[in-house]
Amino acid sequence: MFLILFCILFNTDPNLRLPLINWNHTKQWKIYKLNSSSRVFAIPTDSIPSLKGIPLNDDSIHIFFRNAKLLRVPSSPAWMGCYLTSCEDEKGYLMKIIISQYGGFILNSFDGNYYQLDDASTPLWLDYMRRAYIKTE
């Protein structure tokens, strides 16, 4: 019993610790005209609605995230540029999603996890996000 309690309290496996996002249930995706890393990471989620965003197509996102997996990381990946996006989960909670400009990974500030798209989708995803960001300019 003590061992079980110990495992519950101290496990660090995010698969066990956190319910993972069901990306197919996310909606109201938006991208914002903000890609300065320091500002993107610093902005609180509840301040995002004050930004002017343009909608992303939910279904497109669902397709890209169809095979997304939790990215197990030894530390933070090296960020080399990012996009600020947001979406709502199935309960309507706003989530801040930071998207890397390389490598097909994202950081979900809602659950604190990194997710990675499959290799085949990554180039198209990066191109899709780049085009979407340019539309905000």
Partner: protein, 455 residues
């Protein structure tokens, strides 16, 4: 993407027939699914027939999901319906329903039927919904093919207008009293989210036309086409509304990306290279920063690590005709400042959406410009790795110019797990360097879109 997706059943006149009519060889008397699987293994997959090369779908990696098979009795026997799953993400759309796409795996089933005389048939059925499709009233087109991708029936339109062939009416023809000639053409354009496709493309099209001489009805047809409409094969799949532009600017071919640049030496033709630096902490030599406001308790177990980025904007001005291309060097997959995780295959990206806080623009000669292009072209060669310490984006930019006689400062920073060129130092070096007459410095980020196209 919607414009790239279309489906066209160009011509059809009547039903035709030609299913796999092999009779099973002493199949074990087990459940229908096992018998169907045995029939398929012996008579269809093991038949040694080659796939129809004109049928893109039939040549893709696919898996038959026997564990998800269902059995549907019908008046003439049993039908086993088995989902087919395509290995890659393939999507398909109907011309009459632009903007809606469907995962091909959700639409495709293997149907194996056995009639009362123990004749077995198999068919791969793909149901493509049209714009009027709904859960209550399925509407769309059935494509019926054999496992090798050859047409068995002409496309069957369920819920079709009265001027189109009705499967029910056609199947009611009982007598073989005349022969008909029909041509069936299928022209499908689809979108492949797997750019690792050997053909190098991310879209596919297929056109296949076959002229058939056949009796109006074939008594050995097995399952009548009308029966297709009652089988529990996927009919209502929620459409995905997809708005994805064709991937024209992901740098899949660096030669194509650079092809608009022309080598010239006339006074009216100038070339510039802009070195753009996104410092992690603008105005300082910090090689990396912990991003502020990071999340706690994350799977990253730390705040996000920002290392910044360096990229190039290449411009040719040929008497007012401007060609501009952005390019940056990245790892193809995530890397980490941890020993053993710092390197990955390199890849070139279009950085026209990337911000920077300081840049250096250099007027170069034509030879220098094309020498730089040649160096940059190495960036996504297999085996040309990105390494956070030794071959990162900043190193790549410095070397691209350095090998062509343009020397940039090359201050190296250090961090707990390594050292090397970094945007923080390069940005400060640019900020402090004595500029040559052919150089200009700019602080702040301006839009820097790619400009100019060519044939």
């Amino acid at each position: 993407m919607t414009n790239k997706l279309s489906f066209l059943a160009a011509s059809l006149t009547l039903l035709l027939f030609g299913c796999a009519k092999n009779q099973s060889k002493n199949l074990p008397a087990t459940d229908p699914v096992s018998q169907a699987e045995a029939f398929f293994g012996e008579n269809v997959a093991g038949a040694g027939k080659t796939s129809n090369k004109a049928n893109y779908r039939a040549n893709q990696l696919r898996t038959i999901q026997w564990s998800a098979a269902t059995v549907q009795p019908y008046s003439g026997g049993d039908a086993v319906i088995v989902p087919i799953s395509y290995r890659h993400n393939l999507f398909i759309s109907h011309k009459a329903d632009p903007g809606h796409v469907y995962p091909l795996s959700d639409l495709t089933s293997l149907v194996i039927s056995r009639d009362s005389t123990d004749h077995w048939q198999s068919a791969v059925i793909t149901f493509i919904p049209d714009s009027a499709n709904s859960q209550a009233s399925p509407r769309g087109t059935y494509i019926v093919e054999d496992w090798q991708g050859n047409t068995i029936y002409s496309p069957i339109h369920s819920g079709a207008p009265s001027n189109q062939p009705s499967p029910a009416a056609a199947s009611s023809t009982k007598e073989v009293d005349y022969t008909q000639s029909i041509q069936v053409c299928d022209d499908i354009e689809g979108y492949n989210y797997s750019p690792d496709d050997p053909s190098g493309g991310v879209a596919w099209s297929e056109t296949t036309c076959t002229t058939y001489e056949f009796p109006a009805a074939n008594p050995q047809a097995g399952m009548p086409p009308a029966r297709l409409l009652s089988l529990p094969i996927p009919r209502y799949v929620p459409p995905l509304e997809v708005i994805v532009a064709p991937p024209t600017s992901a740098i899949s071919s660096i030669a194509d990306y650079f092809k608009c640049f022309t080598l010239g030496s006339s006074p009216g033709q100038t070339y510039t290279v802009q070195v753009c630096v996104d410092q992690p902490d603008p105005g300082t030599r910090q090689p990396w920063t912990w991003a502020p406001g990071g999340v706690t308790g994350t799977s990253a177990a730390s705040n996000p690590l920002n290392v910044g980025h360096t990229f190039l904007v290449l411009t040719e001005n040929s008497q007012g005709n401007i060609i501009t291309r952005n390019i940056g060097f990245y790892p193809a997959s995530p890397i980490f400042p941890v020993d053993g995780y710092t390197a990955a295959q390199g890849i070139l990206n279009n950085d026209d959406g990337h911000q920077y806080n300081i840049s250096l623009t250099i007027i170069v000669s034509a030879n220098q410009f094309f020498g730089i292009l040649n160096y940059l072209s190495l960036g996504d060669n297999p085996g040309f790795d990105y390494d956070l310490n030794s071959d990162n984006c900043t190193t790549f930019a410095i070397n691209a110019l350095g090998t062509n006689g343009i020397t940039l400062p090359s201050t190296k920073g250090s961090w707990p797990t390594g050292s090397g060129n970094d945007p923080g130092d390069l940005g400060e070096d640019i900020s402090q360097m004595q500029l040559d007459p052919n150089m200009t410095r700019n602080t702040g980020s301006n839009p820097h879109p790619n400009v100019g196209t060519c044939n």
